[in-house]
Symmetry: C2
Subunit: 449 residues, 2 copies
């Protein structure tokens, strides 16, 4: 076992060193972010990204590279949204009200406003539960303003996100249930900025579909203050989004065939689509280039893995998950055996660890490898984790893993216009590729047994 | 012990939460960086910083706040440096040479060039050892160009810094030993940018003092390429720096008196001076505001520490260490008992851990507390660590600690014009204060026994 572990640690050190001294993921991300940019499913940029990813993995010399078709929703934002708050004293109606131009953006999937926009008084709430307390009388004809903060005290910002995102996801239909005409939702950001954060939401089919936007945390704070001071606040909102017919798109898959157990597949993936308002550099350009880089590091180091490695760049994670669902469907049809699926979709920041959703034996195996990660400052091995794209593989019993980078800066950029290449650090990005590559090395060499 | 640890973990959680939800260090850093800026010892800004720090700690309501005088070196950069590389084909002297304007800055402490500058052929070397191999004949009358990269493969960038910085620190006098007329040194940066990194150097008194500059990694790569291609490279350098007479300055100290063991002092500190070319936001504005914040968190939470807490903002870490030396001298004279000195001087990034230089019993005590840090993702407790400012306390047997944030981005900013407030993340900075505060809580409550 001593010699064994020693060999592992040397192989891991070589892979890690190569990632830092001869990495290719940063320049790939430069291209994807700056030459292609935002690439929502069905957009011209999404097709450019598909072709680029296929070409890049072929150039890296992977054993095979293919496109996996899937039908995707096709939502377009249209012209830039307008959101104007009108502030007035409730006891002095004749005074000229104050107008504030706010920073908003439509949530993905939202319907447009009627031409010319909607204007209505604002009802501020903290949660979906508040709607029931207020009742139809207080909400009907109004614009509901969800203004619950992400909890700054959560150490992991994804935990705070999980506790706040129901306002965005379910808020519009829940507000429509009580007669609201639109919703504005405080952006999913821990701090305060003028960047609105888009993101997906879901309408309940039996309820009216009302327009829904995200408002920047800066503006949310401002409006909240006026409302708490007893001022009247109305809001004028205009959005031009449309949902077009579903369209054909593709996930992109690259593979290095295993030499000893080719039927055992280790998947590492992220999603190729990205919101239209930024360049999708962290979300999930980082995951895309890191996934490709894991396989490239093996190939460029002349390491032939015992088990098959697959980089999967899923289409449509952001607003439908069709790529992930199709991948799982085909994996089942083709009786593929995935011994692990690893998702990287939490930004290109300093690596902290992994989370594994599996049985206890595999988790214990993972823990037994923990000491090998100590030289790389990786200490976190959580007994749960996965990702949206790989989620559909769960019912086939595939062990699911999340690659976990440091979470502190992620929600500064997530789904905003500043999710850009210059906000990704080269070393932190490369260390993510390296960290996944050394785990993939261990699993490809030894399996879970 | 169970109840004991439970109480500790509750106190720690409250302090940590307060740091993230009601922190003051970020706005303090905004002032220090943007209203004061670079503040090298003896500069007008250094005195502004001293007054601001004293005022701020008094406003925080510390039990006592005082200035500790020390004489400091007073070096000034003068007008912006010029560095022009002249590239020519060595076998075709008549061809018009190519001129490249490079990004350079004087190293702190350097002498000026003669008026009008110096121009001389360049000799590129990898190390000080190379100088001896080349000998006086190859070096005399030349400008020595130290071009050894920081090792990208080092996981902790401070390790790479430690292995590269001799070029900057000792290079000028070593080159002068063989007759060089000036040196240019590749900036201490892991990546490639156009920002030159200043920093201190030391002349050996018995050797000629020659002008010495740092050159950006981008330009260093360019020159290196030309030289490797066999082109001739000369360099024209002009610098206007001066060393003025030593002058009076101050470290700033704030204190919360211990209730049970007031004679036992726990020091947390950073340095108040900062290089003149940037705003010293990471180096060491972050450490300054974090040190004050540790005490403020106790005060604002109504926690009266059993042992005395001191925030020490040392003057002159960058080019003389006079504040640190004076502090140790006075601590000895006054028979003060420091049970621990913690330095924060590694940037305002996500916390990773601590290093402790002490005896084995204290290190074991530190390790026994490690589980209490797990909720905060702190796993690193190294058996060595300290800091330049607190170093002089070592001979008095004071246990020395380094607070260790993530190191990946530090050398992007260190000693450059982009060491600015906007490159410090609010949460990461606050988590640093919080991490030190919870350690200080443990030590103030229990001591090392």
């Amino acid at each position: 076992v001593g010699v064994h572990a020693q060999n592992d640690s040397v192989m891991m050190a070589n892979l890690y060193r190569k990632a830092l001294t001869d990495g290719k993921c940063y320049q790939a991300l430069d291209y994807l972010s700056n030459k292609i940019g935002g690439r929502l499913s069905g957009s011209p940029q999404s097709y450019q990204a598909i072709h680029w990813a296929e070409k890049t993995m072929k150039e890296f010399g992977f054993d095979s590279v293919w496109l996996q078709p899937c039908m995707v929703p096709h939502w377009v934002r249209g012209a830039k949204e307008k959101g104007i708050a009108i502030i007035y004293k409730t006891n002095k109606n004749l005074e000229i009200p104050k107008k504030l131009e706010t920073h908003i953006c439509a949530l993905g999937g939202s319907v447009a406003t009627p031409k010319g926009g909607i204007m209505a008084p604002v009802v501020m709430v903290d949660s979906i539960q508040d709607l029931q307390k207020l009742g139809r009388k207080a909400i009907e004809g109004k614009i509901v303003f969800f203004n619950r903060r992400m909890d700054e005290a959560q150490i992991n910002t994804f935990d705070a996100y999980g506790r706040a995102v129901d306002q965005r996801w379910a808020g519009p239909s829940e507000a429509a249930r009580y007669g609201a005409v639109a919703t504005i939702c405080r952006s999913m950001e821990v701090g305060i900025s003028k960047h609105p954060h888009t993101g997906s939401m879901r309408y309940i089919d039996s309820l009216p579909k009302i327009p829904c936007a995200a408002i920047s945390t800066y503006d949310a704070e401002e409006l909240g203050k006026y409302i708490k001071e007893g001022m009247g606040v109305s809001f004028e909102i205009e959005m031009h989004c449309q949902t077009l017919a579903d369209t054909l798109s593709y996930s992109v898959v690259g593979e290095l065939k295993g030499t000893e157990h080719p039927e055992e597949i280790i998947l590492v993936g992220g999603h190729l689509d990205a919101w239209d308002n930024g360049d999708g550099a962290h979300d999930d350009g980082a995951g895309v280039v890191q996934s490709m880089e894991v396989l490239r590091l093996f190939k460029a180091s002349g390491i032939k893995p015992k088990r098959t490695l697959r980089a999967v760049l899923f289409m449509n994670e952001e607003n439908g998950l069709r790529g992930g669902k199709k991948y799982a469907e085909l994996a089942k049809e083709n009786h593929e055996k995935h011994i692990c699926a690893i998702e990287t979709d939490a930004g290109g920041h300093t690596p902290r660890g992994f989370g594994l959703t599996s049985d206890s034996a595999k988790y214990q195996k993972l823990l037994s490898w923990a000491p090998l990660f100590k030289p790389y400052h990786i200490y976190e091995f959580e007994p749960h984790g996965g990702g949206a794209d790989i989620g559909p593989l769960k019912e086939q019993g595939v062990p699911l893993m999340a690659y976990m980078p440091d979470s502190q800066r992620y929600f500064d950029y997530h789904h905003t216009e500043i999710d850009k290449f210059e906000n990704v650090n080269k070393r932190e990005l490369e260390m993510g590729s390296a960290t996944m590559a050394i785990f993939v090395w261990l699993l490809s060499a030894h399996g879970w047994e």
